[in-house]
């Protein structure tokens, strides 16, 4: 009798308790990042962006806990493969990261063999998407860069363009895209491929100046190359209307450290400098980044943020459905992604590329970088000639 009474009381008390929330799930994303090695600079920025995504996710979604497991691949394809295998071995159901197609290619192949979806923001190599892997996704798109560069040059009305690009897959793909889009507008395009970190750019720029005589120059390279090329451009002063670069030029770092060298030069970007965000999430993320890393966020940081946001959102949906360990379900959720991040829309096409992503063009003007293209998102007026002399 006493036992029954105690049991009845216990059941009654439990019944009166408020319904406890579903148990918080730990959402583990595994990434390999090029923290050191030849891609170290971009890899660190990407990794920092992913860490901002973790922080922002955990602030927003109290019911789950985002966890980032990051392994330094040292910009080495073999170590990237080993990192992916280790992450998969730890039971991680969603992997990615990386910087550079030569690293992401074999790493994503290892993930494919293991049957784990792989997402990246560090490759513009279209060849990776053409492999036919149904579990490989890129949150960025080479077309976004090509469209922005060709768009601003088309609107300026140039008739001839010289493209100086690094002879690797991402830069060549974007160069080909710019050429295709500009040729369709009857613009004469001449391309010059070069090795990254060429010690002297004067002969190349001189060739453009004396033989090509273009109305605009397009640069598709990396920071040290940009500095070398712009030093040569400022020295030789080719008579062009504009110099436009892809990534890593319209950045806070360049505006602060090289305002003279890049004065007037345009570059693709997702936001102006000083950073002006319209939505609260972006403002909060940028604020957290400054606090955590003591510098201004840049394009690569935000791509990392976008990648992390997508990956954790996919796992959140899987956790809510109680299928956090169901790889097929997770893959399906990646494909179904329709996410408006602060750095653009993410929606994958059949090849796993994010066609919905777009970029704007900013111009270095007196230490600031207002958006000058497209007109819809412009925060400043395009000034011509867009050259530092």
């Amino acid at each position: 009798m006493t036992t029954r009474f105690i049991a009845a009381i216990t059941v009654s008390i439990l019944g009166l308790l408020p319904v406890a929330p579903a148990r918080a799930a730990e959402l583990k994303v595994g990434v390999h990042d090029a923290i050191t090695g030849s891609m170290g600079q971009s890899g660190v920025a990407m990794d920092q962006g992913l860490r901002v995504a973790v922080e922002m996710f955990n602030r927003k979604h109290r019911e789950h806990r985002a966890v980032l497991i990051s392994i330094n691949d040292e910009s080495d394809p073999a170590k990237a493969v080993a990192a992916v295998e280790k992450l998969v071995g730890q039971g991680i159901q969603l992997v990615g990261g990386g910087f550079g197609s030569n690293i992401i290619g074999p790493a994503s192949e290892a993930a494919h063999k293991a049957g784990v979806p792989y997402l990246t923001g560090g490759s513009l190599g279209a060849g990776l998407s053409r492999r036919g892997y149904k579990d490989f996704f890129r949150v960025i798109s080479d077309d976004a860069y090509s469209r922005a560069i060709a768009g601003v040059l088309g609107d300026i009305g140039v008739k001839s363009v010289s493209i100086l690009h690094v002879n690797n897959d991402p830069c060549t793909v974007v160069a080909d895209g710019v050429e295709r889009l500009l040729s369709a507008r009857q613009v004469k395009v001449t391309k010059h491929a070069f090795e990254s970190k060429t010690p002297d750019f004067k002969p190349i720029v001189n060739r453009v100046k004396l033989q090509d005589r273009p109305e605009a120059i397009v640069l598709l390279a990396y920071e040290p190359d940009y500095i070398g090329i712009m030093s040569a451009v400022r020295l030789l002063k080719p008579q062009v209307k504009a110099v436009v670069a892809a990534w890593s030029v319209a950045t806070a770092k360049m505006a602060k450290e090289k305002p003279d060298l890049f004065a007037g030069v345009m570059g693709t970007t997702g936001f102006p400098f000083p950073v002006q965000f319209s939505d609260a999430e972006a403002t909060e993320a940028a604020s957290y980044y400054r606090q955590a890393f003591n510098k201004e966020p840049d394009h690569t940081v935000f791509v990392g943020y976008m990648l992390g946001t997508v990956m954790f959102d996919v796992l959140r949906r899987a956790a809510d459905a109680g299928k956090l360990n169901d790889r097929a379900y997770i893959l399906e959720q990646v494909r179904k992604t329709r996410l408006a991040t602060m750095y653009g829309q993410v929606q994958f096409n059949a090849a796993g590329d994010n066609d919905a992503w777009s970029l704007m063009v900013g111009q270095h003007q007196n230490g600031a970088i207002p958006i000058v293209w497209p007109a819809k998102g412009a925060t400043g007026k395009l000034k011509l000639p867009a050259v530092p002399y």
Partner: protein
């Protein structure tokens, strides 16, 4: 076309002199000690990073930072020498592994201290156009070209006209015989490392003054210095400079007339052609095998 060729040759000579400055240190160490210092490029880069640090914290430009950078690089070079000296047997092969490892440690150390971000001088004067009308060059390039010229003359004089210089050449010729003549080979080898470190420091200053630097740059600098050294033939300073200038001009003309992407290929073609015709390198033209 003539203007393009003329200006490209001039650019190539400036770049070649810079290659020569890097290779000079590597060749000096190899001639004297039979050590192939695969960390030499990292020492050049270390000097560049110390210059960066001196600029940001003390406000010193790349030229004024040379004494400070020199002190750091000399210490690193002496440490390298001491580590290599621990292995007395199979020195040439062992030195490859040891210095390769030191290069990796230095690269990762630079990442830890200065991060993977690229750095470049804030001193505008170095990248401003030099007052040479038909010859496009930056002030920094012309300055360090001139410094390289002076250094070559001073080094040649030192090697040929001073006791220590002659001691160094003696050890390079025959280590055992030099010891019998009262020269301390170990001390002389250390001296070679110190002189090479000072040359690397000047090269690092030139690097920081005219280009953007980042930690992975050390390896390619070593490779370039190695190619120049082998192309010249071991032990010949004038031919070393000739080889460096040749590579600089070939690279510039390839970029200007063929394709910038073929610069390295063109260099290797010239390299192989020269070695095919002259197996001992350019120095085979004179049949000389001593540091002079």
């Amino acid at each position: 076309m003539a203007e393009l060729i003329f200006q490209s040759v001039f650019s190539g000579l400036l770049t070649g002199a810079y290659y020569g400055l890097i290779a000079l240190g590597m060749a000096l160490v190899f001639s004297t000690t039979r050590v192939v210092n695969l960390a030499h490029g990292e020492l050049v880069l270390l000097a560049a990073y110390v210059s960066y640090q001196a600029e940001t914290t003390l406000g010193l430009g790349p030229l004024l930072a040379i004494p400070l950078a020199g002190a750091v690089v000399v210490v690193a070079a002496i440490a390298t020498m001491q580590l290599v000296a621990l292995k007395s047997r199979d020195r040439e092969v062992a030195s490859l592994l040891i210095t390769f490892g030191i290069g990796i440690i230095l690269t990762n150390g630079m990442v830890l201290v200065w991060s993977a971000d690229f750095r470049s001088t804030q001193a505008r004067w170095y990248i401003e156009p030099a007052p040479l009308k038909a010859l496009p060059a930056m002030n920094g390039e012309v300055l360090f070209f001139a410094i390289t010229g002076v250094l070559v003359v001073v080094l040649w004089w030192w090697l040929n006209r001073t006791w220590y210089g002659r001691a160094l050449r003696a050890v390079a010729s025959n280590r055992v015989s030099a010891g019998l003549l009262g020269i301390r080979p170990r001390r002389t080898e250390l001296l070679a490392f110190v002189v090479a470190a000072l040359l690397a420091t000047i090269a690092g200053g030139a690097l920081y003054a005219t280009r953007a630097i980042e930690p992975p740059m050390g390896g390619p600098l070593t490779t370039k210095a190695f190619v120049v050294t082998v192309l010249a033939g071991v032990g010949s300073m004038p031919f070393l400079l000739a080889a460096a200038l040749l590579i600089g001009v070939v690279e510039a003309l390839t970029a200007a007339l063929l394709s910038p992407a073929l610069q390295d290929v063109a260099t290797m073609v010239v390299f192989l052609l020269v070695l095919f015709a002259l197996p001992t390198g350019l120095s085979g033209l004179a049949g000389r095998k001593v540091v002079s």
